[in-house]
């Protein structure tokens, strides 16, 4: 790790430790390709784990993170760069890591990031999508869903839950009131009967 830090210092880059196994290095877009290549060939990070994209709508840029691993698998280095949201484009790194091809293809579909030189930048999970890419934050998913797939209406014989619950509550109340009245009447009868019983007992 100390070696890596000194090597990055030569390129005037700083390695920040985020967690005990997680390190981050931020880099400009122009420097990205050469840095990733030296990570692969010089520093021994032969595995590209994932490419992630974060949409910072307020600041108007995408934050792209490349997660790299050594064969030891004991720590992850995140190479992070930020690009402008408008006409976003990145150099394709499918020649370094073959698995990057499909990751970049997915990012192109979900965020609309362009990768010049990418061999198969075609539909991935969606087909014939002509709207804003769906994982961009300015894409209103709920609005789109309500326009395209409205909810099923209720059944013709469906009852209104509010009205039914009110009816139920009133019926319960009435039953309770009736029970109370009956109990009161019963108690009254008993108080009327009791003195006479006592009299009878005394006799």
């Amino acid at each position: 790790m100390i070696e890596l830090i000194s090597k990055l210092e030569k390129l005037s880059l700083e390695l920040v430790q985020k967690q005990d196994y997680l390190y981050k290095v931020e880099v400009k877009k122009e420097q990205l390709e050469s840095l990733l290549l030296s990570f692969l060939n010089e520093f021994g990070y032969i595995t590209l784990d994932s490419i992630n994209c974060r949409d910072d709508l307020e600041e108007g840029n995408f934050v792209i993170t490349y997660c790299l691993l050594t064969p030891k698998r004991d720590h992850v280095v995140m190479v992070q760069t930020s690009i402008e949201r408008e006409n976003a484009s990145l150099p394709s790194i499918h020649t370094f890591w073959p698995q990057a091809e499909i990751m970049e293809r997915e990012m192109h579909e979900m965020f609309g990031v362009d990768f010049p030189g990418h061999p198969t930048l075609i539909d991935f999970a969606l087909e014939y999508w002509d709207n804003i890419p769906p994982l961009r934050r300015d894409f209103d998913t709920l609005q789109y869903v309500n326009d395209m797939n409205p909810f099923r209406g209720q059944r013709d014989d469906a009852l209104d839950a509010k009205v039914e619950m009110k009816k139920k509550r009133e019926a319960k109340k009435a039953a309770k009131l009736k029970a109370e009245q009956e109990a009161a009447a019963k108690a009254e009868l008993e108080t009327q009967n009791n003195p006479s019983q006592e009299v009878q007992n005394e006799e």
Partner: protein, 212 residues
Amino acid sequence: MMESGFHGCDLDDSLKCKLEESGTQNTHSVMEKAAAWFRSRSIFVVAYGTGCGAIEMPPTFTSRYDAERMGVVGVATPRQADLIILSGYLAYKTLRRVIRTYEQMQKPKYIITLGSCPINGGMYWDSYNTIKKLDDYLPVDVSVVGCMPRPEAVIDGFSLLQKRIKNGEKAGWEKYDENLDFYKKNQKRVLGNHVDPSYETDWYNLENGSEV
């Protein structure tokens, strides 16, 4: 068990009436009745595993629940099948393939759906890529509810379908033929003009009912 209903859909009244006639019997002669009885006892199934419900099909068709004792047998291709089981949510991409598969099947043909997703979207109700009401796009004969339905419920769905076939009730494919405009309009609404060529009419080259 829920019958596939058209309640609450935004249908024209005339169309709604047509669809609700499904209870009428249309087997009259003895031969038709006999054919319906035989048909109900040999349902060949193409199991199209969309979504998580596909996991319920191996126990249904193998020795534990053994749907073959009811005459329900799996087949390899849609052209051999009478029944297609759609077992879960349908993305637009899947729907395109399902429509194509359904139109390749020979008549008479039936659809059973499993789970709540084909009925109302289920837990994928707010997905940008999943349809909510399958019966807008294809005629569903029996919807087995549950998330997911157990094999017992799936077999109950089979027996309900068999009962309907035996009674000669109007099936989904007849509704599909009669209301093709309605179904194709809905399919075009979500899939655009990229629906695969139909095997029933030359819809691919039609625009607003007239040839371009």
